[in-house]
């Protein structure tokens, strides 16, 4: 009996320690970290708003990593897979860590731009839910470790646009002229039109891409602006009334503006996985492995999941009852509530170049 109480007490103390912040993590925790690479640098290239950064008393993940390992993190951000690809491909800059989405990982693997990840050194890899291992873009799970999972939906402000129809068509609705937003990156932008037209997001027919582009051009007269992360400011302040974005970001906006609502459109939507990868031009491979393992650490993964608001593939987070978004219906919908979804795949280079040019046409229109 005493033993049980003792275990219970230690558990209690431990959880108290956690709740009062990671800053006070004990020496034993630090000892887990290898400081042999202290003094080296790690170049991390990530999406904007995609790591817990220490604001509002959260954990500053990069700073913690620096403290634990003595490795200096140079952190920079991008706003689309395409920008990241462009930077990486140009040879102007090299990175040790990148976090692309599924279809981009497929492309990077095809173009030999990724280095295999030595999973033996990722001791926390077991924490990844099996359904997020060996995914279609990396069937043997050699190049990527899943970081986040998400779906695209529509965020709206009922005080401005009322209750819109649960369809992608609302973004074309003249009622919402100058109130609606759309994506400024090609894959997501095309997706909104492809879903309306009922075409595959990975269509190999040029005519279908063309038709989607024409639809997008039509929508420009209604649109207020093309956005990526600018949508935060616009939705939170009521500057815009309706716009598509990633579900997790909706939950973050909700913290600032509680009026906001969200739906997955009836036509279906895109589901995506963003995974941590190491580019083949990596300079500090060992440190990159340490960083990946660090991101999977239960406490770090929890802090990230709560800050970013996306669905986590990490079972230690998903099963944690103290997790802020534990069982959240938007992030973790039950099977019967799950909308129709489709992943993006890397497409034949000819088609890709065709739709990239079409997207420029849309932007220029």
């Amino acid at each position: 009996m005493k033993k049980i109480i003792a275990i219970f007490l230690t558990f209690l103390i431990f959880s108290l320690c956690c709740s009062c912040g990671y800053e006070y993590a004990d020496i034993e925790y630090r000892a887990k970290f290898d400081r042999s690479l202290a003094g080296t640098e790690l170049n991390v290239y990530n999406w904007g708003e995609y790591v817990s950064d220490g604001s509002d008393d959260t954990i500053d993940v990069n700073r913690e990593f620096e403290k634990m390992t003595g490795i200096k993190v140079n952190y920079s951000t991008y706003e689309s897979n395409e920008t990241m690809y462009s930077q990486l491909k140009s040879g102007g800059v090299s990175y040790d860590i990148i976090i692309p989405s599924d279809y981009m990982i497929e492309r990077l693997i095809n173009e030999n731009m990724l280095k295999k990840i030595d999973l033996n050194k990722i001791s926390n890899f077991d924490l990844i839910d099996n359904q997020y291992k060996n995914l279609f873009f990396d069937k043997n799970n050699e190049y990527s470790v899943t970081y986040n999972v998400g779906m695209v939906g529509i965020i709206y402000n009922p005080t401005i646009v009322g209750e819109p129809e649960h369809s992608w068509k609302t973004l074309w609705d003249k009622k919402y002229k100058d109130m609606s937003l759309n994506f400024s990156n090609p894959r997501d932008g095309f997706m909104t039109a492809q879903m309306i037209l009922g075409y595959s997001l990975n269509s190999t027919k040029m005519s279908e891409w063309k038709e989607a582009a024409e639809l997008l051009k039509k929508g420009k007269s209604v649109l207020q602006s093309y956005v990526m992360d600018e949508i935060y400011g616009k939705m939170e302040t009521g500057e815009a009334g309706i716009g598509p974005y990633y579900a997790g970001d909706y939950l973050t906006m909700l913290e600032t503006n509680s009026d906001l609502k969200f739906f997955y459109p009836n036509e279906g939507t895109n589901i995506f996985v963003d995974s941590v990868c190491i580019p083949s031009s990596v300079k500090n491979y060992e440190a990159a492995l340490m960083y990946i393992n660090f991101l999977l650490d239960p406490e770090i993964a929890l802090a990230n999941a709560e800050y970013i608001g996306y669905a986590s593939p990490n079972i230690s987070v998903v099963n944690n009852k103290d997790y802020y978004y534990y069982g959240n219906p938007i992030l973790y919908p039950k099977n019967e509530d799950m909308p129709y979804t489709e992943y993006y795949h890397d497409i034949d280079p000819k088609i890709r170049s065709y739709y990239e040019n079409l997207w420029i046409d849309v932007k220029l229109y």
Partner: protein
């Protein structure tokens, strides 16, 4: 004597080397990219492909011209009034005009959003007065306003500096000879201030026509200006470097042509080969 001047000419040698490597060669490389395809084979396709961007060129030019005209119309009287002030207040105003130039232009542009937004400062004032809010942000007007705001000091300063050098006795002589205010303006001030106007126009037009960012933030990222298009293409991937280089090349040629035309108007002591 000859030796000395040879020595003085030689001190510029490091600069010539620098200019050759970092001014001339980069332009040649851009030229090379513009005239080749992804595999390095010679092609005119990129130059031909520019037709697709004619709308972006057209909007950029129209916006830049409007912005330049507006800045000129605002700045000319401003500069004139400044020269009529006491020397100490002239210095003060000059400082005030220059100060925003040291502010980051991204920040200056961004804070315009706060003023123009649908729920921004202007509209808050309007609605609190019981008036209907205006649609200001994400319009061509907002983009042009951004250009005017960002580049206006570059118009005021050169015009002011030329005007302040106009000899006052010249004006007095003219009025003694019976010319009225208008004819003094037309016959003395305007022609004498022309060099300042010309350099002001080029200093506002060039950054306006080639800007990126302003339209992205104030225009809702809907109408790509040519600068935005170039920046976008560089961010799609190296496959698009060739067409982006072709666009840059055309932009550069266009700007140099404008400068050449402008140079005809001003009798500049600095002769240039353009």
């Amino acid at each position: 004597m000859n030796k000395k001047s040879f020595g003085s000419r030689l001190v510029a040698a490091p600069y010539y080397v620098w200019a050759a490597i970092f001014i001339i060669v980069p332009l040649l490389i851009m030229f090379y990219f513009a005239l080749t395809d992804q595999n390095g084979a010679f092609t005119f396709a990129n130059i031909m492909g520019i037709a697709k961007y004619k709308k972006a060129f057209l909007i950029s030019i129209i916006y830049a011209v409007i912005a330049t005209v507006i800045t000129l119309v605002i700045s000319y009287p401003m500069s004139y009034f400044m020269t009529k002030m006491k020397i100490s207040s002239q210095r003060m105003i000059l400082l005030i005009v220059m100060l925003p130039m040291w502010m980051n232009f991204l920040i200056r542009t961004y804070s315009l959003i706060t003023i123009l937004a649908n729920k921004g400062i202007i509209n808050t004032i309007l609605t609190s007065l019981g008036l209907k809010p205006l649609h200001l942000i994400n319009t061509p007007g907002a983009v042009i306003l951004g250009m005017v705001y960002d580049f206006i000091p570059y118009m005021i300063l050169p015009i002011y500096s030329v005007m302040s050098k106009i000899d006052n006795s010249l004006l007095e002589a003219a009025s003694d000879l019976g010319s009225n205010g208008f004819s003094r303006l037309k016959n003395i001030i305007l022609p004498l201030s022309l060099p300042g106007v010309i350099s002001g126009i080029t200093m506002v037009f060039v950054p306006s026509v080639s800007t990126f960012y302003i339209s992205q933030k104030l225009g809702g990222n809907k109408n790509l200006l040519i600068g935005d298009a170039i920046e976008y293409l560089f961010n799609v991937g190296p496959d698009f470097y060739n067409i982006a280089s072709a666009l840059s090349l055309v932009l550069m040629v266009m700007i140099l042509l404008c400068l050449a035309v402008m140079n005809r108007f001003s009798s500049d002591e600095e002769d240039l080969i353009v």
